[in-house]
């Protein structure tokens, strides 16, 4: 199968929900604080250079090397889980960009909408494996922080794009 066929392929198991932008905007101001305070929610992960476990976790179902994984609902790029990194960790020798775009994805395990930051990993050219584009909560480019068509290697020493991680930053509810 040609590269772009895979790029646009979406599985019938595509389950991530679309959360309305107005809903997202209305909640954005308080979501992070609520996210950290709510005890039943998943922890707020942070990108790091440490290796992260990729085994399925309770409450976090799915395969992080698959485009179907719930956190990838607004990803557009190469999945770092396939590129030597993990869902929260950049591949060896690349640098995480802390300037990023965010999407809102529903976790099928708990039905909660999570704010996901899609940090780009930078300093090497395209990983070229596990291309995945899903635009569930994407906005046009005039809302850049909800747009995944931009190379977000803006907060890294080199602006060259390698792959993308998907990090839980809080909840939208």
């Amino acid at each position: 199968m040609k590269f772009l066929d895979r790029f646009f392929e979406r599985s019938s198991r595509h389950v991530a929900s679309t959360t309305g932008r107005r809903h997202f905007i209305a909640k954005f101001g308080s979501l992070l604080a609520i996210g950290t305070a709510a005890p039943v929610l998943l922890p707020i992960d942070r990108t790091s250079k440490a290796l992260a476990a990729e085994a399925p976790k309770a409450g976090d179902p799915g395969d992080p090397t698959s485009c179907d994984y719930w956190r990838y609902c607004s990803v557009d790029g190469f999945l770092c889980s396939c590129c030597g990194g993990s869902v929260t960790s950049c591949p060896p020798g690349t640098e995480v960009s802390h300037v990023t775009w965010v999407g809102t994805c529903r976790n099928p395990a708990d039905g909660i909408d999570y704010i996901i930051s899609y940090n780009d990993c930078c300093g090497k050219h395209s990983c070229g494996t596990c291309a995945c584009t899903r635009n569930d909560s994407e906005e046009p480019m005039y809302r850049p922080f909800n747009n995944n068509d931009i190379n977000w290697c803006l907060g890294a020493e080199s602006n060259v794009y390698n792959c993308t991680v998907a990090v839980i930053r809080g909840t939208a509810i």
Binding site: K2, T18, H125, N151
Partner: protein
């Protein structure tokens, strides 16, 4: 030697002699480099984003009538490209790093000769050039070709103005909250803003700002307006993800939002018809018609997905005229500006789909000429 062998030998000898006498020794040749003729009306430029290696990208130049690959322009880091109106120059806004993927970053505007496909000149520009899936209005030229406008995103937004006569940066203008540069005539460009307004900046002959207006355009809390517009003269056409066309007349002192119309009937919209793609609309100005990539089973998350179906509309009255179908999924459209126009579509396998708009027929596919084409540009 047996008689049969003699016969065979004689025949072989005779064949060799005949062959030698017909095919005289080939002349000694000289090696050279091809120079193209001046671009005709249908010359097409495919912007290749090459997603698998965005460091080393290209613009592929083709003749869609002859289905011929004419040459290519190497570009740096998913460079946007724009064509001069006099057809002499192709501009690319390149990014280079001194160590391929690291080291010192240098951004340049490169001016390529459209006949030799060689660089004529370049100028260093602020190291802020936007790096995204290639946007048609991230790089544009003034109608008189004096200025080139380069969209910057750091994520602060601004536009670098290059004076092509002086081959120098004239200014950099901040456009906070707004994106891109939609050129208007000789000395103006518009930008689309996140609050739903359209901002127009006016320049003087030195490329300095002399005025700026902000006009309410659409409600971003109610709809998603796709920034990838098309235009006929100074009237720009945007579409919403739900299928409304929002025309904007930028010919006057202040922008005028013209009455909107729908690509679909209510029944069609209920059935799931809606636009989608990357450069999902294109206009053929001499026909005053617009072409839209349409999805029969649209969902909100498909707003950037390719399609094989193209609807043709009369821009005079918004009436749907024809349906064109491509054998392959198309992501971006462009139409030529002459009175016998072609419609070009980048297919998702790197090829170019070609339609004759007189007959409405698909005339062929140039397969595999690029890797990840994002745009087609025409003079």
């Amino acid at each position: 030697m047996h008689s049969s062998k003699k016969l065979t030998f004689s025949l072989l000898l005779a064949t060799g002699l005949i062959s030698t006498s017909v095919n005289a020794e080939l002349p000694v040749e000289e090696v050279g480099t091809t120079t193209l003729s001046a671009p005709d009306d249908h010359r097409s430029y495919m912007v290749d984003f090459e997603f698998n290696n965005m460091v080393s990208t290209r613009v592929v130049v083709v003749d869609p009538d002859k289905k011929k690959y004419l040459g290519m322009i190497p570009t740096g880091h998913a460079a946007p490209a724009a064509l001069s109106h006099n057809r002499k120059t192709v501009y690319t806004a390149d990014i280079f790093f001194s160590r391929y993927v690291r080291g010192e970053r240098t951004d340049v505007l490169t001016a390529w000769d459209s006949r030799t496909l060689s660089p004529e000149w370049e100028v260093k520009i602020p190291t802020k050039r936007s790096f995204s899936l290639t946007e048609r209005f991230a790089l544009s030229t003034s109608a008189d070709d004096k200025f080139v406008y380069i969209y910057n995103f750091t994520p602060s937004t601004s536009v670098t103005i290059v004076d092509t006569e002086k081959q120098a940066v004239a200014s950099e203008l901040a456009i906070p909250g707004c994106i891109l540069n939609y050129p208007i005539g000789d000395r103006q460009f518009a930008s689309l803003c996140g609050d739903g307004s359209i901002q127009v900046i006016t320049l003087d002959s030195a490329g300095q700002e002399t005025g700026r207006s902000v006009t309410e355009f659409f409600d971003p809390d109610q709809e998603r307006l796709v920034e990838r517009a098309t235009h006929v003269g100074k009237t720009y056409y945007f579409v919403t993800t739900e299928g409304d066309v929002v025309p904007l007349d930028l010919s006057g002192d202040t922008p005028e939002v013209l009455p909107r119309w729908s690509l679909t009937t209510e029944e069609q919209r209920a059935e799931g018809w809606a636009p989608g793609g990357w450069q999902l609309i294109a206009a053929a100005p001499e026909l005053n018609r617009m072409y839209v990539l349409m999805h029969p089973d649209h969902k909100p998350h498909k707003w950037e997905d390719p399609s094989t179906i193209i609807w043709e509309f009369d821009l005079k009255n918004g009436k749907k005229l024809r349906t064109l179908e491509s054998p392959n999924l198309i992501w971006s459209l462009s139409a030529t500006s002459d009175d016998d126009p072609l419609l070009l579509g980048t297919n998702i396998e790197g090829g170019l789909e070609i339609f004759d708009l007189g007959s409405g027929q698909h005339t062929g596919t140039m397969e595999g000429v690029t890797k990840t084409p994002t745009l087609v540009l025409n003079h």
